[in-house]
Structures are given as structure tokens and as C-alpha cells.
């Protein structure tokens, strides 16, 4: 980023604005992005403290079942009451408490899995796009193989390998539960990022400023990190914010295969998976976790748009 020098109308002193200040001032003008930031901050607070606070207020622990109170004689869950604000889930647990605890699980899966996938994809894409040739071929074909793999079958294979004993697989490196879910999401997500980054890198490396840096003797690493990477920030951030809710939904899909988080661990994806058994009799099961998921998705998207606009120096103001 470059600094901007403003001419002050009085006194002749010239104040500069740092890149971060410039970024903040741009972002501040985007009310939607600020709102999204607030929502994400609130979700983060809920992720840390929401579950215990909800349990404390309602008096209902996260995994406690209330069949006698919140299920009818056919085992169907009952809806919202004064004691159970969101009603009960399919296993007669307090849905409000589970939704609050689910925020933690879903955000952990979404953010961490996305972060790792973006990191790997970024490195692979940068290297492939910058160096081209044999390195590009090897890395791109590896990504293509991953993209061509049947994700469902591979996931079933991972389940069979890692779920049948307590210690997981690969000598305990891949543990069943959250680590395994994150690992599977990362495996199937990084190629998309890598492809995107590679495409942009191929384009940017031909720009004049990159040529100028090279002619001044800049090393490959310097060119990659100082010239190319900053120009990737916009698309990367936007794609990252799109990937977070996708990762959350991927976790829900994995639940169908038994590869999701353990049954007692609350997650929005798991709650929505549970809801499909009762979609015609228990509307609350889909509404509340679904609402949280929609709000989260919207917040990340709006924030991503705002960050892109704030970071892109060429954007019209």
C-alpha cells in the first residue's frame, strides 16, 4: 500500500495517513461492513461464552435430555415453551442451549478449516503461478487430482480408517472428531484456493511493477511477498469469507457419513441434519440453527465485500 499525502489548507504542514488508517477510514464509511463486523464480534462472544451463559440462565446443561417433558409418546420433540425457548431437538435436549454451544463448534470448524485451506492454497497457488514450468505442472496436477477425487468415497474411507479405534489413524495424527472434520474439509478445499491464486499470480507476474522489481534485483521471495501477494488480498479475502459458511455446511454433510463431530458435540450443521427427520413436525429445529447460519453467512459476506473495497486502492470511492 502506498501512503497518501494530504495538503492541509492552513499552516502548510502536510499530514500523512498510514495505510492502516486509510483502510480504516474506507471501512468506516461502509455501514454494512461495520454492521457485519459487529455481528461477527457478537458471534465470537457467543462462541466463547454463549453456551455456558445459556445453560446458566435456563438451568439446562448442553447434553441433558428431557424426554419426559419435551417428547410426546411417539418420541417427537416439542416446540418452544417458557422453559425451553427454542424448543427441544430430536434427542430431547434444549435447542437454545445447543444452538449457543453450536456457535463455538461451527465457527471453529469454519474459521480454522478455512484458514488452513487458504494458507495451503495460497502457498501452492503462488509457487505454481510464479515459477511455472515443471513446478506449476506438478502442483496444478496435484490439485486437479484432488478436485477429481470422489469426495464422498474418500470421506467414507477416512471414516473406516479413523473411526474404528480410539486413537484415530496415521499413528494418532488424525483424531476422530473436530480434528478429523477440519482435516477432511482442508483436504477438499485447498485446491479451489490454489487454482484461484495461481490464475491471479500468472496475471500479476506479467505486470510492469513486477518487471521493475525484478530489474532492480529483487529476489523471487521478495517479489512474491511484496509485489504479488498484496495484490491478491482482495480476491483472497472475498473467497475466504465465502469459504467459511461453506465449511460449516460441509461439516453438516459429513455428519450424514458419521464423519461429523461426535453426537454429543453441538454444531449448527448437526442440528440441521437432525432437523431433516422432523421437518414436517418440528419447524423450530430448522428455523433457529438455520437463522444463525444465515446471519453468519451474510455477515462474513458483507464483511468480505467491505474489506475488499477498503483494501483495494483502485476502487472508486
Amino acid at each position: 500500500m502506498s501512503t497518501v499525502v494530504d495538503a492541509v489548507s492552513r499552516g502548510g504542514a502536510i499530514a500523512t495517513r498510514s495505510a492502516w488508517r486509510l483502510f480504516w477510514e474506507r471501512l468506516r464509511e461502509d455501514k454494512a461492513a461495520l454492521g457485519a463486523l459487529f455481528v461477527i464480534a457478537l458471534l465470537t462472544f457467543i462462541a466463547f461464552f454463549g453456551g455456558p451463559i445459556a445453560s446458566s440462565i435456563t438451568g439446562h446443561p448442553n447434553t441433558e435430555q428431557y424426554q419426559q417433558v419435551m417428547q410426546d409418546s411417539f418420541g417427537l420433540p416439542k416446540g418452544p415453551t417458557s422453559a425451553f425457548w427454542f424448543g427441544s431437538d430430536g434427542e430431547a435436549r434444549d435447542l437454545f442451549v445447543r444452538t449457543m454451544y453450536g456457535t463455538r463448534t461451527s465457527l471453529i470448524v469454519g474459521v480454522i478449516a478455512t484458514g488452513i485451506a487458504v494458507f495451503i492454497g495460497l502457498i501452492v497457488g503462488l509457487v505454481a503461478g510464479y515459477f511455472r514450468g515443471f513446478i506449476d505442472t506438478m502442483l496444478s496436477r496435484t490439485g486437479d487430482v484432488m478436485l477429481a477425487m470422489p469426495q464422498l468415497l474418500i470421506s467414507i474411507g477416512i471414516v473406516a480408517a479413523c473411526n474404528s479405534n480410539k486413537n484415530g489413524c496415521l499413528f494418532g495424527l488424525i483424531q476422530p472428531g473436530l480434528p478429523l472434520v477440519i482435516c477432511v474439509i482442508v483436504i477438499f478445499s485447498w485446491p479451489y484456493i490454489a487454482r484461484l491464486v495461481r490464475g491471479f499470480t500468472l496475471s500479476i507476474r506479467e505486470k510492469e511493477f513486477v518487471e521493475a522489481s525484478r530489474s532492480l534485483g529483487a529476489s523471487d521471495a521478495r517479489i512474491i511477498f511484496n509485489e504479488i501477494l498484496p495484490n491478491l488480498s482482495g480476491p483472497i479475502i472475498v473467497y475466504t469469507t465465502l469459504l467459511v459458511p461453506q465449511s460449516i455446511l460441509f461439516e453438516a454433510a459429513l455428519s450424514y457419513l458419521g464423519l461429523g463431530v461426535p453426537p454429543d458435540t453441538a454444531s449448527w450443521g448437526g442440528l440441521l441434519n437432525d432437523a431433516q427427520r422432523y421437518y414436517d413436525t418440528a419447524w423450530w429445529l430448522m428455523l433457529f440453527p438455520g437463522l444463525f447460519l444465515v446471519i453468519t453467512t451474510l455477515a462474513f459476506n458483507l464483511l468480505g465485500d467491505g474489506l475488499r473495497d477498503a483494501l483495494d486502492v483502485r476502487a472508486e470511492r
Binding site: 435430555q65 424426554q67 419426559q68 434427542e91 480410539k166 454429543d264 413436525t281
Partner: protein, 610 residues
């Protein structure tokens, strides 16, 4: 001239009577003609996965739902059943044999004569001979062919020697000619005919099975039928050499079993199966909700699936839908199995505490409540004992919700409970591996078990496995506890509940059904690579041997005492439900029948609209 009123009334009455009679006749005619109509396709949805224990290979397949397919549609046996509900459905009748033989030689010899005209379907297409039964028995005895209930045939002379590789044939089976087969037993075995009615005893063509020697489950995709249907595409299979044998197209092992009429089947030789439909298709569907939506829409006709509670309630309470709601006695126990070699369940006090603490009513709620079954208090369903153990409930609690006080009192004697706290507080009580499946009901069951066990200090690390049976059936995986298992009788004798499940001598490396490893010895643990504590594991083998040679009425009393012994002194399970078999059919089904032997729909007796 006025006609008398009474004449007019009479005329009206006659006309009305004729009209009513016509309507009734028409209705009766149409009812009779719409029920049991030949033709059409029966479409059956199957939840999550087939879950077969041996890929539906008759030699090793032990899943009750698979018995329904095999015995109704693909495999005839020397003797069989009428594929009916209740007591009549448990009576043995002649199938391939001309008659049900009476044993001779003090009950140790059974001679069967094969009906002419009973043939193998494509690609073999020839008369069944006595040698084909020898092939089947040899496969059953060969440990490399994946048999899971070979123990039923041990009374045949020479069985053990053949199984150990010490003999080239089973000496107790002789074939004087191609249509006669004689079984000589080491001792009188009162239920031998019922053992011969199981799918593994059906004839097999050696020209096909030789291609699958030592490959458990592989024969299934080329199963050669003797019953009314065959796997679609069987007629296109080339058996001229083993290298050319390819799987029949109608069974892919994972998602579909498509059966069409067997052209070599002679209905005149088979009084027990009606075979109304032209085709039967079993299709796997991940979602039981989708399955029942499709049944309601007529895209499926019935299902092998847990029934979502909402669907259960709708059909059980609606006057218009009740005709499609079928319930029969299941002769089945659902239970939580505890491995006697794995901590902390190698301690009987812990196992007793688990029996006290589990909320059985909550588990049943997850399946649909009292409509789907009765709370189980011991191993064998009460109905099989004629309700003589109806009042026996050694771990009863108020409302079947579990009893923390009693559980803690039971736990106090455990080596895993320090200082008499009544809690399982040793390290072995934490993060205990619990294996679960991925059916719709499993998350709720796991949640209940985790919640209850936590009250006595036991916590679990849960592993959900799609089609969990093969994992649970491998002793070397050392699974401490699993909530998946259910057991239905093999045939109407209490022995079929005890021998497969608790006889230590039946424990095998794969396909094992004695999940708790009752009676396992240190030598077995070594040879089967079982870890954990194999010393001093309680055994009921001697009691099993004593009961198996008895005849009624002492036979049932003996098994009742065995049940009590298991629940009091061994405690391998937490039995929680005796389920009814509930099936919902679509409006396409014009005649539904239940097969009491297999406790599944009697597929060979069901008809649909054309």
C-alpha cells in the same frame, strides 16, 4: 287401476336388494381380484446401508433382514417354512425334500430325498442333486469361507475333522444317489431340521462356488438361485472358466439388489412360495425420511428402515392409513453389548451398574415409544418363553428410567471405584470407546447412554461407523461397548439366542456374534489377537451343552435358568427392548404377509398392483 302399495314396496325392496347384492358382489370380486394379483415390481427401500455381515453370501450371511431375502426369493433348502406369521410360520415343512424326514438310529440319522424338477437357475440351469448339498456343507465347514453359524452343524459326524483340514470330506454326510442325502450325527439333536432350514444349508453349484473358495462374501454377486427369483443378469454370466465369471449386474454389493423371475424355477415343486410379483428391487437410501416420503408417494412399496417417529405417529393414529401399518411379534432383543475383556467392562460390578443406570424408556422413545416394542429385562423375548419370565426383571427401575442409587451401590464393589465412592473414577472409566452406527436413531441412543453413564463416572469417546456390524464382529478390534446390536432368533428355539451369542467356542476372527466374548479363553485371545484381560472370563458353555440335548418341557426351563444366570452372574449386555416388527406399506401393496421365521416381510407372498 291402483296397484296395491305392498306390491310397489316389494318391487322396490327387490330392486334395492339386487342393487346391494351387485355392489357387494362387485366389491368382493374386485377385492378378491385386486389382492394377490400376479405381476408388477415390489420396490423396497433400505436405510443407510445393507449392513450385511457377509455380503449376502448364504454361507456366512447372518443378518436377519438378509434371511428374509434369501429364504423367500433365492435359496430353497431341504426343509423350510410356510412364510407365514405367528406359530404356523415357525413350523418346519418340506421344501426341496419330498417330505420332512423322521430321524432314525436313535435320532442320529436324517435321510432326505430330493424332489425331481427342482433346478438351479441361470447360469447353471440344471437339476439340484445331493452333491450340491455336500458343496454347501463343505463351504460351511471350511473356516476360510466365512461361515458365521457353522457351530449349528457341528453335530454332523466328521464335521470338526473336515473343518480342521484333517479329512477330505465330512464323513457324516453320504449321498447314496443323486437324489438322496443322509446326515449322520454324533448325538441326537432335536432341532436339526430347523438348522437345515437355514440359508447356509441350501444347495450350491460347485461349478460356480469353486471360483470363490477362500473368499468370504464373494459368491454373493453370483449367487445361483433355486427359488422363484434370480439376481438380474445371472443369465449373462459366463461360467465356462473362473476367469470369465463376472458379477451379475443386478447386485452391486452396495446400493441395489435387483431380482427377476428365475426361468428354471418350477412353481409346481414349491407349495410354500407364491411369487406374485415379477421383480423385487431393494434400494439403499441414506435418509429414512426420504424413504417414507417415497412410500407415501407410491415410489417405494415398503422399507427395511427405522421409522421416523412422525411417520410412525401418522400411520398408527390415522384411521385411513392404519391399513398400511403392519405389526408382528419380532422375537428380537435390542441391547448394548459390553466386552468382558475390555476395561472397565471386565468388572461385573461395572456391568451391573450399567444395567441399573441406563434409561431404557428413553432409548425406546428414540425409536417411537411403546408402539414399537416392550422394555427388555433379560436376554430372550418373553414370548419365546411363553411369558414364563414375564416378572423377571433383575435391574428394574421406576418407569424404566434408570436408578442412580442402585447403580452406585452396584459400582461400589468395583476395582475401578476407589474408596467406595460408587463412581467409576479410575482412568479406565474415561474416554471409553463406544461404537455406534449412523442410522437415524443412533445419535439419540448415544446421547442417552452418554448422559446416563456419566452419572456413574463413565465417559465415552464415540465412533460412528456406517454399517457398524463388521467392526463389532471383529474381536481383535477390542471394542469395549457398542449400542448397535440387536438379535433375532435364528429359528424358534431359545438355543438360537444363546449358542451364537454366548458360547465361547463359537468365537471367530471375523463375523463373530459373541460380541461380549463370554467364555473366551486366554488361548483364544492369543490366536485371535484379542487384547485386554482374558483371564477368568465367565463361561456358560457347560450349561449350554446341558440345555441343548434336552427336549420339552425341561428344555425351556433349562434355557430360562440360563437366561437368569447370564443376567445375574455374567451380565454381558444391557438388554433394552423387545421390538415388534413394524412395516409400513404403500397403497400399491395389495397383499402383505409376515415371515415369522425370518421376522421380515414374506417377500415371496406379497402382491402389488400390476
Amino acid at each position: 287401476m291402483k296397484k296395491p302399495l305392498w306390491r310397489l314396496a316389494g318391487l322396490v325392496t327387490i330392486v334395492a336388494a339386487v342393487a346391494v347384492a351387485s355392489a357387494v358382489g362387485a366389491t368382493a370380486h374386485s377385492s378378491k381380484s385386486s389382492a394377490m394379483k400376479a405381476g408388477g415390481t415390489l420396490n423396497v427401500g433400505w436405510e443407510a446401508s445393507f449392513g450385511f455381515t457377509d455380503n449376502m453370501d448364504p454361507t456366512g450371511e447372518y443378518l436377519g433382514d438378509a434371511f428374509g431375502i434369501l429364504n423367500n426369493l433365492l435359496v430353497r433348502t431341504l426343509v423350510g417354512y410356510t412364510h407365514d406369521a405367528g406359530g404356523p410360520g415357525n413350523a418346519v415343512v418340506a421344501d426341496i425334500a419330498t417330505t420332512v424326514p423322521k430321524p432314525t438310529n436313535g435320532g442320529k440319522t436324517y435321510t432326505f430325498h430330493i424332489k425331481p424338477g427342482v433346478k438351479f437357475g441361470p447360469p447353471v440351469s440344471r437339476q439340484v442333486t445331493s452333491a450340491d448339498f455336500v458343496t454347501a456343507m463343505n463351504r460351511e465347514a471350511n473356516p476360510k469361507d466365512g461361515a458365521e453359524y457353522a457351530f449349528y452343524y457341528k453335530p454332523i459326524k466328521g464335521w470338526d475333522a473336515y473343518a480342521a483340514g484333517k479329512a477330505k470330506s465330512i464323513s457324516g454326510i453320504s449321498t447314496p444317489n443323486s437324489s438322496t442325502i443322509v446326515f449322520n450325527l454324533t448325538a441326537a439333536t432335536g432341532d436339526f431340521l430347523k438348522r437345515m432350514a437355514m440359508p447356509a444349508a441350501g444347495p450350491m453349484p460347485s461349478e460356480v462356488t469353486k471360483c470363490f473358495e477362500g473368499q468370504p462374501g464373494k459368491y454373493a454377486t453370483n449367487l445361483v438361485s433355486t427359488a422363484g427369483y434370480m439376481i438380474k443378469g445371472s443369465d449373462a454370466v459366463d461360467i465356462s472358466s473362473c476367469a470369465k465369471v463376472k458379477a451379475a449386474s443386478g447386485y452391486d454389493g452396495q446400493t441395489i439388489i435387483d431380482l427377476v423371475r428365475n426361468p428354471d424355477y418350477a412353481q409346481s415343486t414349491d407349495p410354500t412360495r407364491k411369487n406374485y410379483v415379477d421383480e423385487v428391487r431393494f434400494m439403499v437410501n441414506a435418509s429414512n425420511v426420504d424413504i417414507y416420503n417415497k412410500i407415501e408417494a407410491g415410489q417405494l412399496d415398503m422399507a427395511t428402515s427405522s421409522i421416523p417417529p412422525a411417520v410412525l405417529k401418522k400411520y398408527a393414529t390415522s384411521s385411513s392409513l392404519k391399513q398400511y401399518f403392519h405389526q408382528n411379534s419380532g422375537d428380537r432383543t435390542w441391547y448394548i453389548t459390553m466386552n468382558l475383556t475390555q476395561a472397565p467392562f471386565d468388572d461385573i460390578h461395572v456391568r451391573k451398574a450399567m444395567n441399573y443406570i441406563i434409561d431404557k424408556d428413553a432409548l425406546r422413545q428414540g425409536w417411537g415409544g411403546p408402539t414399537v416394542g416392550d422394555i427388555a429385562n433379560h436376554v430372550v423375548p418373553d414370548a419365546m418363553f411363553g411369558n414364563q419370565l414375564a416378572t423377571y426383571a433383575p435391574y428394574k427401575s421406576a418407569g424404566n428410567h434408570g436408578d442412580v442409587k442402585k447403580a452406585m451401590a452396584a459400582m461400589k464393589g468395583s476395582k475401578y471405584s476407589t474408596g467406595g465412592s460408587g463412581m467409576c473414577d479410575a482412568a479406565a472409566c474415561k474416554n471409553v470407546l463406544l461404537v455406534s452406527d449412523t442410522r437415524g436413531v443412533d445419535p439419540g441412543m448415544v446421547a442417552t447412554i452418554e448422559q446416563d453413564a456419566k452419572k456413574i463416572g463413565i465417559t465415552f469417546k464415540v465412533r460412528q461407523i456406517n454399517g457398524a456390524y463388521p467392526t463389532i464382529q471383529t474381536p481383535s478390534k477390542n471394542i469395549p461397548i457398542a449400542e448397535r446390536p440387536g438379535w433375532g432368533k435364528d429359528y424358534a428355539d431359545a438355543l438360537t439366542f444363546f449358542t451364537p451369542l454366548f458360547d465361547g467356542r463359537t468365537i471367530i476372527a471375523n463375523g463373530n456374534t459373541n460380541y461380549s466374548l463370554v467364555g473366551v479363553t486366554p488361548a483364544q485371545c492369543k490366536s485371535l489377537k484379542i487384547g485386554g484381560n482374558c483371564v477368568g472370563v465367565p463361561s456358560v458353555d457347560s450349561q449350554l451343552d446341558k440345555c441343548s440335548v434336552l427336549i420339552e418341557p425341561t428344555r425351556t426351563t433349562c434355557y430360562e435358568n440360563l437366561d437368569k444366570n447370564l443376567m445375574t452372574n455374567v451380565v454381558p449386555w444391557v438388554p433394552w427392548m423387545w421390538s415388534k416388527v413394524t412395516r409400513i406399506t404403500s397403497s400399491n401393496v395389495t397383499h402383505y404377509q409376515f415371515d415369522q421365521f425370518a421376522t421380515t416381510p414374506a417377500y415371496a407372498m406379497i402382491s402389488v398392483k400390476g
